[in-house]
């Protein structure tokens, strides 16, 4: 099992002191190597869920087990290290560092896991079709190319779980399919579990398993 969520609760404190519940998930599982599309509306808690699974945000209650480790019980530095080593993230707006070249952006992803491998970084960029653009900085790349660098970066540390947050939302129609295929093929090749969040049904339709967040996320109910 690659990902297991049990009785996960998350709420945000409002300025008036009351709490706004965001997540209320009794159970959710993702098999090793499985690819799941998660559909959800804006404000439905998609990003909070991904941040919680990545260990960026802490949950109020429950457990999130990734690759056999309950990250909700880990202290923050351990969660950071765990994220660097075992979780790959692709963001909607790529989040590349503009001062760094394509190669350096991938190397940066490796730096925090302590496993810097220059030849692997080049290989990954070559794999996503950017072998000739290693030394180009993000502003010199097209939107589609930037997202491909982001995909290469997410694969840099050979993660067990890939989290993709609306990865095709910022690219044009022509690139959408290419990016999606790239992510899915890369995960398949490397036996990485993929949880892809989208609000676009046409993106979700490419997946064998599609989940709707509102169906298993009941923030108002006690888990």
């Amino acid at each position: 099992m690659s990902l297991v969520l049990k009785n996960v609760r998350k709420s945000y404190k409002l300025p008036d002191g009351t709490r706004l519940p965001i997540l209320g998930i009794s159970s959710f599982e993702l098999q090793a190597g499985e690819q799941v599309a998660l559909i959800g509306s804006s404000g439905g808690g998609k990003t909070t869920l991904l941040n919680s699974i990545a260990g960026i945000t802490t949950i109020d209650a429950g457990s999130i087990v990734v690759d056999g480790i309950d990250i909700s019980k880990l202290p923050e530095p351990s969660r950071d290290r765990f994220r660097a080593q075992r979780i790959g993230i692709v963001f909607q707006t790529f989040h590349l560092l503009p001062a760094f070249t394509a190669l350096e952006n991938v190397l940066l992803g490796m730096s925090f896991s302590g496993r810097v491998n220059r030849s692997r970084a080049k290989e990954l960029l070559d794999r996503v079709g950017l072998g000739q653009r290693l030394n180009h900085r993000p502003p010199m790349l097209s939107v589609g190319e930037q997202q491909r660098v982001a995909v290469a970066r997410s694969l840099a540390n050979s993660p067990k779980l890939m989290l993709a947050d609306e990865p095709t939302a910022s690219v044009d129609q022509a690139n959408q399919t290419k990016i999606l295929d790239l992510i899915r093929e890369s995960c398949r090749e490397n036996k990485i579990s993929l949880l892809l969040v989208t609000h676009a049904p046409e993106v979700a339709s490419a997946f064998d398993r599609v989940e709707t967040l509102s169906q298993f996320n009941q923030p108002g109910e006690s888990a």
Binding site: T47, D80, H95, G109, S111
Partner: protein, 479 residues
Amino acid sequence: MNLFQIALKNMRQRGLASWLTMISVALGVSLMVAVLVLHSVLGKQFSQSGSGYSLIIGPEGSPTQLVLATVYRIENSTSNMPWRYYQKWATDRRVELAVPLSFGDSTEQGDFPVIGTTPQYFKLPYARTPEPQPYRVKGDFLKGSWDAVIGSEVARRNEWNADEDINKNGKLDVDEDLNGNGQLDAGSQFQLVHGGQKGEDAHVHKEKFTVKGILQATGTPNDRTVFVHIDGFFMLAGHENPLREAIHSEAQYFHEDEEMLLEKYKPELEAEAREAIAIKLNPNHAAHAVPDLSKEVSAILIVTKGDGLESANNSLSIYTDLGEENAAMAVSPVQVMDKIMRNLVGNIQLAFLCLTGLIVAVSGIGIFVSIYNSMNERRREIAIMRALGAQRRTVSLMILCETLLLCLGGGLLGLLLGHGLMFAAAPILEARSGLLIDPWTYSIWELVVLPIALVLATLSGLIPSITAYRTDVAETLAQ
């Protein structure tokens, strides 16, 4: 990629701001270096100059003025002492060596101070640290009455040459001294301005001195001084003291009855009267040997007998003896220079150091403002790094690395700039103040720049690094 590489990338990303920040640190540090180098040079000059002798004896007055005139040649003497007084000290049982000095004139070319002295002056070391440093001369020291030895700076600025017709044995050596034209190299000749060019009755003496030797650079005021033989100096028209005045002066210095002295020096007085008539009849009357009675000295350098304690005891004994007199005084040059250094120069330097300290502090605030202002745009980058697995401590150290690189870069640039500044300013300062500055002189205090840069980096990077530490990843990425 390590933290320094990431920090360097960030600095390059904000190239202009980074350079400006580094330059502001460099300017502060360069000023600090310049002050420290000046402090070091001044300290060296103050401590070394005049350290070759135990005491200076001069007419009663200001000890500081006597030292400034005798050692630094930046003041003139107000009165003189009889030659017989010098002879008294030269034969004193406590004195190893007494060197007479007469000064007040300057060169017509370049207005360099002129000192009339004996060749014995050059037997004194010009400095004592780390060991006694003897004078080295190209040519010869003073031998004839119209000989001159000039400092290296005088030779350079006035483009004067030494007479090379005398070899080390003091004999004519035609083979060595023939120049390209088959002529003997002649030493430069020059005339003196009576009382210095700024003196009230300044006029050029018609007699000429010939440069016989050029001193090797000493890094002391000797480099910009012209030494002439004291006999020639006395023979300059108007330099001999009228006999009646000289007798009055002797009476004062030796506590003798003036009437008795007038009787004693009757033959000299008659000779003076005959000389006056001869000059009246023939204005071109040749220069003559000056009687000792008419000779005056401005100061006497004293080296006391013995080493260590014995020498100190002898100095103290002379000092005490002269303390009871009204006409002359003895001063310890080292003590006076130390006083000048502490009270005047030291305070000015302290003020400069405080000022440069403030400049460096302002530079530090500049770094803080620059980094802190960039934190808004940088917060997103920090959040991305955190999302990729960077720990809070890592991003915090990354900011500190950046301020460290800026401060160290600025510090090193400032060190180079400071010495470059001294390199450019050295000839100007030398021309204006006579202060000889080696731009590559370094002060041990320059090493303080490194810890200062570290402290500055830490202080200026502290708040931005805390901001980085506290960055909320989820919230920042959602913006």
